[in-house]
Assembly symmetry: C2
Homo-oligomer: 196 residues x 2
């Protein structure tokens, strides 16, 4: 399988981390989204929505949406709880990541890293809502080792992607000790070099 992704995108790295952890063979095709690489006619043929990551299974099947991709790739692995209710709790985090965390924490980083804005020029409403998300993570991770109980799951993969890069979006995790503990444990679980 080929993973089309931008290595600067946390969403894309989720797919890479899952493949690496599960030892699934893949080739990584770098897409320069900043330079328009996800808007070329060739790429739009693969994914008409023009979004990365996109997986090409080379039998004509393709799959987009980072959280759908990791859910599919890891469906029978130790990264996805067997118990239906625990899996539902994992799903709730995956959807929450997309609607309540990524639009603030990742978007602030996008404005700073991709658009070159200083932190002082960020939309204060995005920053405020980013901290709301980080505070909610802090509360959850003060109660259990990982997001779905004591075992690392796809919920941790999805939330780790941009939380470990929050400082690049101007967020200060000094008040978020449980989040910092969880970032370190999750990076170690996935054998990633610490993001900072």
């Amino acid at each position: 399988m080929k993973i089309y992704g931008d290595s600067n995108s946390g969403n894309c790295l989720k797919a890479k981390w899952v493949c690496d952890h599960l030892a699934l063979p893949y080739s990584w095709i770098e897409v320069d989204t900043k330079g328009g690489g996800s808007r070329t006619p060739e790429f739009l043929k693969l994914n008409p929505f023009g979004q990365v990551p996109t997986v090409d299974f080379e039998d004509g099947r393709t799959l987009a949406q980072s959280n759908a991709i990791i859910r599919y790739l890891a469906r029978d692995s130790d990264l996805a709880p067997k118990n239906a209710f625990a899996a539902a709790k994992m799903d709730a985090w995956l959807f929450w990541e997309q609607n309540s965390h990524e639009p603030y924490v990742a978007v602030c980083r996008f404005h700073m890293v991709y658009l070159g804005k200083p932190a002082s020029a960020l939309d204060p409403n995005l920053v405020r809502r980013g901290y709301v998300a980080l505070d909610q993570l802090e509360r959850a991770l003060g109660q259990s080792r990982f997001l779905v109980g004591e075992s690392f799951s796809l919920a941790d993969v999805a939330l780790l992607a941009y939380t470990r890069l929050a400082h690049e979006g101007g967020f200060d995790l000094v008040r978020h000790g449980a989040v910092r503990r969880w970032i370190a444990e999750s990076e170690a679980f996935l054998k990633l070099a610490p993001a900072r």
Copy 2:
């Protein structure tokens, strides 16, 4: 089970529709989100994130996030494909709905219906991106009867919720014949009165 929801919220209605279709018994607890009903100490005890819908299974377990809820409730039903790859395609729509459709189509409606703005006062960027999402739905629904092939699935439940109310957010579906055909078929499948 109790579903805490706001009947004006498409996200909340997804859970109701799935329960009604599958004949799952539930009681609906109306939460007036506009009046702060999801921010009371009692509600925050149920869901510290202050979001509806929230399901209370009455054995101490609760579940939030509309798409995680319907995925759990319908997990062994005809609304969820048995084939793993078809289920992944359904998931891709569920995540896309939350990150590329709801933040524009539902948010424009929120500004008009909840905040009382006229269509002319909507953020043009939200409107533009709402039409991008509707155009993408039009392309997909020009190719198959429902979003995941020929069978109605949770992908249709999730996307129907706000697409059928798009006009309340100022969107005109005159160019979107396939979307209008699909809204009518989906409403008929779920035995809903047409939204317009």
